[in-house]
Symmetry: C2
Subunit: 352 residues, 2 copies
Amino acid sequence: MARSGPKLTRIATTLGVSAATVSNALSGKGRVSAELAEKIRSVAAEIGYVPSQAGRALRTGKSAVIGLVLPDISNPLFPQIAQAIEFAASSAGYGVLIADSRGDVAVQTSAIERLIERGVDGMVIVPRRGTRIADVGCPVAVVDTPSTPGNTVAADHWDGGRQIAEHLVGLGHRRLLIIGNNPASNVQNDRIGGLRSAMREGVQAETLWIERLELLHGKGCSLGLAGKVAEGVTAFAAVSDLQALRALTELQRAGIHVPEQASVTGFDDLIWSPVVTPALTTIRMDMARIATLAVEALVQAIGASAAESPSDGTPVAATISKVPMQLVVRQSTARPPSNVQPLNVSEGEPQP
Amino acid sequence: MARSGPKLTRIATTLGVSAATVSNALSGKGRVSAELAEKIRSVAAEIGYVPSQAGRALRTGKSAVIGLVLPDISNPLFPQIAQAIEFAASSAGYGVLIADSRGDVAVQTSAIERLIERGVDGMVIVPRRGTRIADVGCPVAVVDTPSTPGNTVAADHWDGGRQIAEHLVGLGHRRLLIIGNNPASNVQNDRIGGLRSAMREGVQAETLWIERLELLHGKGCSLGLAGKVAEGVTAFAAVSDLQALRALTELQRAGIHVPEQASVTGFDDLIWSPVVTPALTTIRMDMARIATLAVEALVQAIGASAAESPSDGTPVAATISKVPMQLVVRQSTARPPSNVQPLNVSEGEPQP
DNA sequence: TATCGCAGATTAATCGTTTAATCACCCGAT
DNA sequence: ATCGGGTGATTAAACGATTAATCTGCGATA
């Protein structure tokens, strides 16, 4: 234990009162005269009293710690999530215990198990794609995507996709390539759904799944994007900034200028998006808000499970749940080259 | 509390023995007959006994939790660190509580404070650049760079720089540009020191600090790399993959082919390094090993501070401390273009 | 005057484990 | 027959806080 701490009792004897009174004064619960309470507080501050979490946890049955379970910590989005959750949690008086599931479902289960054993009051889970969260023994907030059943809060990925597509279509693009990674991901599918939803008549889009391609041609293989440009594609909408980056560099490497000859968009506004050349047009989730909502819901559920039901079944906390995403327009998108004509155009906007 | 757990006493009464005996049997400490121990274990397993961390922590004074303090969670290297530390810690039976300092020194201090209040047994700190860790009240392992006083374990950044430079010089490069971000970073300075150490006679290198440039020309400004190429620079050695990515895209955007016309190297083997085109030549730290060593040292210090000295001063755990980095050669480096001659060459290798 | 009510404080039990101290007992040696 | 030593188990005291129940005066009411 790190605390070199004085005990509750000491401050009690110092003032010649009982430990219970000190506890009451500090927590403001029992009946303590204003003056005594004031004196107690000042002495507590003076000797630097720090309550023992262990003692409190033992008595109250609450550890004031929540767990954060992530599909794979090495996910580049992780820092944002962790930072936001940590901030929201510590604002609410909770500590955050991390558990990495290393992308493995079995490990995820055991990670959850470990958290439970450590006595967390609740947990925030960002599930591995496609995973359903089984019945754990404490309140759980799930951050996935609004369309997933059991989801608690999430960014409105679908609408994010819609915004991206509107932007692109508004610029005049008529042939898009959507770049996804894995079709099993709910988040990716929502994003793609949103993208497609905004495609009015005359706009064509096909989807390319990177993992499928890599299964055939090996990791890090070419995506054949230059060929797509030759076929008339003028915009590439990736489902994550990582894929967008891949697309961007592949195009550049092939001598195709972005955004003059082809536009590229990403998702999530990851760390590198503003620093690459051209800076990536992308869409950002309001992680702070998502985290706040998730933690709020969780804390509330924790309170409820303590008060009402003795048996906290497997309640998944729920809330207002859909947080808008924000389009960030940078340099990787522009109007399509004027010499490229959409193949089958029913109604096209005038080209510049 | 999440645990719906049966108590130690229950399993004791079930078998008609005392709680102490159960505790002894399960921990293997006291004297318990083999048969009884076996019976106890089986009953424990049967009813799914999970010891209460709170009870144990209260009694033993150890929480079996360590804190992880990071300079800024949004650092792209963070996922690697967190994942490795979490793995090492949980292998050693410890939980990991995160604390983000959001890049702010004051916040870092309060984050550490919060961890202490939560009763962590020790903490791993990856200090914000240039920060010295003040006297906290528990064992601390510092992961920075070997040259920093008080450092516990770290990658051998200096030697990493040396390896990169050897690679580049070995390929025939004679004029390099080193790209750093902030001169206050010990890690960056070590890397640069290593880079320069491998430059034999006839090799020139200048250093460019991005933050300085951005102070003048604004965030995301051009680094003027194309101009450098025109001046005869054939290789760009960035001090992090993030800067390398910036350099790569800026060069590509300027129509300069990598690696045919200029080589680019990074540091840390971040997530995007293998997927960009051309894939980045970089150098990787053995995070798993670093984390293991850090946690080992920490756990040992925790044991020691519990046993010997009642007052755990502010000991910084120490160990064998220097973990080699591994060069990862990919596609962003090649021999320099043959038409570029080093300006003042005293002894040059034959060009292809 | 006896009693009621209440503010202000105390007692004591409790949370679940660990662990030092103690005890009961059996066996072999003196 | 007694003592010593070892083995296997029990007792009981913490650890540090919370909290229901209790106690003590004191002023007001009947």
